[in-house]
């Protein structure tokens, strides 16, 4: 076994999920994630945790959903009980075909999601972590050779997370103390309020309210957005390739938009509900182990020298206790690079310029 698979499992079990002796763990194994499952199971045994492995196969899920009609039982008791009694949920992604469920009707999928909402909430109340094992299918989606893609994934996952967490803490504090963020690039000049919002130092660990491995971003929930922004990173949204999305905001709402390709996808997103026209997230990518875009949001939005904004739902972790933020059925991330001729300001002070943070060598005041 590639030694990096064992290292990946160690980061997952110890740094990310903080598994301890006696923890009841559900490990969901995607069709192509067998080797990571083996390495993770061994560590779970070493830590004295209790393991239930579930089979998270896209093809099994497709067959079940296509066989079923649109009427699903609400929150089946056996699945609900499994997660109600679980301390942690480790989702090991990585299948053999990223389009494995492509021919499941959208309405079927949504009906199932609605019927199992309580299960999802109970699962998200555990110490859950989502990661991926590098498969040939994901390499193909990224347009990369298999071994090249393995290197890419492990560069992103096998970081010195403790020191990255310390670095990200600096940006979190600036956001927490600040009132207004301004993003300026060659094709953007956008201001957002972040007053009274709490930033999350997303350091790939449940100890940081962070549930993705890799992670490496600081995010908050902006509002009262004004100005224009161009997202220069191409993405697949709802199965369609979208690029050069341009949004214009007034009074916190999108009032104009355009896209270089599949503009109708953006129109569909914006028409979902009122909240879909407002931002739910401002995130700053700080994982310099990620050196390219691979059309996989788990990686893309964490890449160093990028900023992403999401239309739609805000995360509770960013809001004052008991307050609710922007509400929407969607949360669609869009990404812009922040390299040459760009800057991020908080209350008029430059925090990042031309891809260098204030505390880094090469930062120009």
């Amino acid at each position: 076994m590639d030694e990096r698979i064992r290292e990946h499992a160690e980061v997952l079990v110890d740094w990310s999920a903080r598994i301890e002796s006696g923890d009841d763990v559900v490990m969901a194994v995607s069709g192509g994630a067998h080797e990571l499952a083996v390495a993770t199971a061994e560590l779970l045994g070493e830590r004295g945790a209790n393991l239930v492995a579930t089979y998270s196969s896209g093809e099994v899920q497709r067959a079940y959903l296509r066989g079923h009609d649109d009427e699903f039982d609400a929150d089946p008791a056996h699945e609900l009980a499994l997660f109600e009694n679980a301390d942690a949920y480790l989702a090991l992604g990585g299948g053999h075909n990223t389009s494995a469920t492509a021919d499941v009707p959208g309405e079927r999928r949504r009906a199932h999601a609605r019927a199992t909402e309580e299960i999802r909430e109970v699962r998200l109340a555990t110490d859950w972590v989502k990661t991926v094992h590098p498969t040939r299918s994901l390499a193909q989606q990224a347009g990369m050779a298999y071994e090249e893609y393995q290197d890419f994934v492990y560069d992103a996952v096998l970081r010195d997370w403790e020191s990255l967490a310390d670095e990200m803490e600096q940006l979190k504090r600036i956001f927490d103390d600040g009132s207004e963020v301004r993003l300026v690039t060659e094709d953007a000049d956008l201001t957002m309020s972040i007053e009274d919002r709490t930033a999350v130092n997303s350091a790939a660990s449940v100890a940081y309210d962070s549930h993705n491995l890799p992670s490496g971003e600081v995010f908050t929930a902006p509002y009262a957005t004004e100005g224009e922004v161009l997202f220069d990173v191409p993405m697949t949204i709802r199965g369609k390739r979208v690029n050069d999305v341009r949004l214009t905001f007034e009074d916190g709402e999108v009032v104009d938009f355009a896209a270089g390709q599949n503009e109708s996808v953006i129109a569909d997103v914006l028409e979902t509900d009122d909240g879909a026209r407002r931002l739910g997230e401002l995130g700053v990518g700080m994982n310099r182990g990620i050196d390219r875009f691979t059309d996989n949001i788990l990686f893309d939005e964490k890449m160093g020298d990028t900023v992403h904004l999401a239309l739609g739902r805000a995360y509770d972790a960013n809001l004052p206790e008991g307050e609710s933020g922007n509400d929407s059925a969607v949360h669609v991330d869009l990404i812009t690079t922040v390299g040459e001729d760009s800057r991020l300001e908080v209350d008029g002070e430059v925090v990042q310029r031309n891809g260098r943070f204030r505390w880094e060598d090469g930062f120009e005041e």
Copy 2:
């Protein structure tokens, strides 16, 4: 997909497990059983059942057990809750290596089995069915080519179960009404009491108290065994090849034994406890879809023209309500063919002679 995989799933879901709308089903998928899992999931969807798929990989299990020490938590809450709330449990066997857990220390394995005894009991209280998907690994164990083995498995599984159940009912009635069974072959003359015992018509369906697919045997719990028997079918017991096992019974207990190979394995079995020296089962194989021995008890003991006897634990289903039968930590099946020059008598009446039952063409009184 091979159409026989879908037919296998249909027998499993409809005939064997009797799945109905609203049933909460746990489907355990072995490493090589993906295709059967897909076909089964589609049918579970069609029937309106609720599915949790678990990953029953020998390699994951090995890694977990080897990582762990010998101290396991008793019946972890999440796994217990899953099965307490399940109506049915479908175990889809078929891995990539029948020796996948060969280097797990026996004591580790036993410690884990002891710690999870309640989970096992709760699981066996559901409508559980065990079957196998034909894999290359199982073909290899059987000494057969892959396609040849697929034909073998589907011949055994895709029977007219309803009509086989009707036929087996005749033998069940004879056993239920009878007091004494006598088995005579060239190398056996054995009598057993079956007075007050109830035979099970094991027709591969929970509706018949039968939990194996394929099945096709009638079995009961004999006692007061007297005489001698030679088991001419070779088997692997505790990882060792055993053949030509000869047992001599007096007053229901083994008083002498021999074997053509690895006799010490039989000695070990007999020394387990008192119950290991008495019989727990007499079974008559009646599945004529099984035409050869493949060193897999799921198939071997159901083959037509065979009789098997098990040393050790008796099944409750064979006993009067509330009564307990022979008790032991083991249940080890041994098989003899009953072709030429053999007969099975109940209370002096011949039921099967030279491989023909009383109700079959070619039976000689």
